[in-house]
Amino acid sequence: MTLSHCITLSLILCAIGVYGILTRRNLIGILLSVEVILNGANINFAAFAHFKATDPTAGAIFPIFVMAVSACEMAVALAIIISMYRRKKRLDVSRLEELNG
């Protein structure tokens, strides 16, 4: 396994995530796609730290911070989605239609 393998993997994960955000109709599915993108970036950091970096500790620590921050973000996102479910009774993005123009 080389650096280019890892970068290819992370870019594929990024593409899968963006595709998921664009095509998924369910809000939970969209959140999962976001997580896929974030983890793709984490793989990138770990790979650069392992193969290339002059300061490998920084790259190894960064993903841990990313995980903590994305946990906060997901907590907020789930709270928002629950309150949306209470208002609209569906988790479908096609229900997000009242604001437009």
Binding site: I37, L38, F48, A53, D55, F62, V66, V76, L99
Partner: protein, 475 residues
């Protein structure tokens, strides 16, 4: 430690408000105590900021830097938080707004303060990790705030849209950071700047920069990524909309300035055409979008998209011109935007914030209508108001580098914007209301704030003291 005083005071204030709320419980959310603590505290922090030495700089704990420029940005953030706190007052009192009362006031203030602290962190960062944490601390609270009216379908929908777009942009930002890290081998700005100077044509570097630009495009509402802005601005409660349109935009601009003139300075000639194309597209889309809006908050969203375009244009200039003109313009933009949102909160007391809500204002509330006129003229950039001075400096920054065609294009765009700002004036002065209306009611906080903002807009344009002070700090 004196340079760190505003940051520490801000954290202390936030802790104080949360502690007070936990201690008093139900009582605190109905009383005005936390509100008074908050605005007095923010005012104190602002005066502390004014008193600090702007020619010194210091590095704390190896990762938190305070410079004159970061202190200027902190002034903007504190001022914006202060005005948001004042603006939010009627929304927490029964009958203050037609959409219903907001609850949990102390938490609201606490979230605003923490968000402001995140912005402080962004302008103090010297490595990508601090920058990332600061940016997230400045963004995640905004998702909560935009859904603050839990019972309102529009507010919830706005926050759902915002958090989906926001997390996508975070993901792209992280990809950008990882490529910058891979290229430089370290997270510090120094290492990235060294890698950038050594080899500005490295494809990894360019890939990273494009990811970062795309991500910050979301937060700054640049052209292909601006779609969320009108929906979020429309659905969120008004004080939050004002806060998003000023503070969140200011922090995104600060972030871009720090990167473009800091670690990526060696790539500036590569970035210039990208920034100019983004600027041209953004101002056109913003101005054309605003033409057909009926709802005032959507209108303000498109107007602020266009303003972001003008600001980005100045980043084609050299560091000194870009920093001084953009910081000055942010002050001017903040004053004008908050004035509009104070007027919106007055209209929104009894009815929808539509264009028709402005009707009859010229007869019934002549002073308020005059303030609205001054504000719109300042946003459009009519001399001798502050908006003209601000736009002039932005255009001059781009013109110094010889981008005359771009400046002419921006001036034409500015003319389009004058048209739709005048549409608002027409509604306020000429169109007759269908039924006779009572004059709008202003409370003392709204009167004082509007007077202060109008004063700022008129005098920042006439007296060059303010802009030359900023230029002196930047140099």
């Amino acid at each position: 430690m004196t340079l760190l005083l505003p940051d520490l005071l801000l954290l202390l204030l936030a802790a104080l408000i949360l502690a007070f709320d936990l201690y008093k419980g139900e009582e605190a959310s109905s009383s005005n105590v936390t509100f008074h603590i908050c605005w007095i505290g923010l005012m104190t922090i602002f005066f502390v900021l004014l008193g600090l030495p702007y020619d010194e700089q210091a590095l704390y704990l190896g990762g938190y830097q305070v410079t004159g420029i970061s202190l200027l940005f902190k002034q903007i953030f504190v001022l914006s938080a202060f005005l948001t706190v004042l603006l939010s007052k009627p929304y927490f009192t029964p009958g203050g707004n037609y959409r219903g009362i907001l609850q949990y006031r102390s938490e609201f203030l606490f979230i605003i303060l923490l968000c402001t602290f995140g912005m402080f962190t962004v302008v103090s960062a010297v490595d990508l990790l601090t920058l990332f944490i600061g940016m997230e601390l400045a963004t995640i609270p905004l998702y909560i705030l935009s859904g603050y009216q839990k019972e309102d379908r529009l507010s919830v929908e706005a926050s759902t849209k915002y958090i989906i777009m926001g997390s996508l942009s975070t993901g792209l930002l992280l990809f950008g950071y990882s490529f910058l890290y891979g290229c430089a081998g370290s997270l510090t700005f120094e290492a990235i700047a060294a890698a950038c100077t050594a080899n500005p044509d490295e494809p990894l570097l360019k890939l990273g920069v494009l990811f970062v630009l795309a991500s910050i495009g979301f937060k700054l509402t640049l052209f292909p990524f601006h779609m969320w802005a009108p929906d979020v601005y429309d659905g969120a409660p008004s004080p939050v909309t004002a806060f998003i349109s000023v503070s969140s935009k200011a922090v995104a601009i600060a972030f871009l300035l720090i990167l473009v003139y800091g670690p990526l300075a060696a790539m500036h000639s590569y970035l210039q055409p990208i920034l100019l194309v983004l600027a041209a597209a953004t101002m056109t889309v913003g101005n054309l979008g605003a033409l057909k809006q009926q709802r005032l908050r959507r209108f303000m969203a498109y107007s602020s998209i266009a303003q972001a375009g003008y600001i980005i244009m100045a980043m084609a200039g050299n560091a000194e011109a870009a920093y001084s003109s953009i910081i000055f313009y942010l002050f001017v933009y903040a004053a004008a935007n908050y004035a509009i949102f104070f007027i919106l909160s007055i209209i929104g007391r009894n009815g929808e914030e539509n264009l028709s809500g402005l009707r009859g204002m010229g007869k019934k509330n002549p002073v308020l209508a005059a303030v609205l006129m001054l504000t719109l003229f300042s946003l459009a950039g009519i001399p001798p108001l502050a908006g003209f001075m601000g736009k002039f400096l932005l255009f001059a920054a781009a013109a110094q580098e010889g981008y005359y065609a771009m400046v002419v294009f921006a001036a034409l765009n500015s003319t389009i914007s004058l048209y739709y700002y005048l549409l608002l004036m027409k509604e306020a002065y000429i169109t007759q209301p269908k039924s006779s209306k009572k004059p709008l009611r202003l409370d003392s906080i709204q009167k004082t704030s509007l007077a202060f903002l109008t004063f700022a807009m008129v005098f920042a344009g006439i007296l060059p003291v303010f802009s030359s002070n900023i230029l002196a700090v930047v140099q």
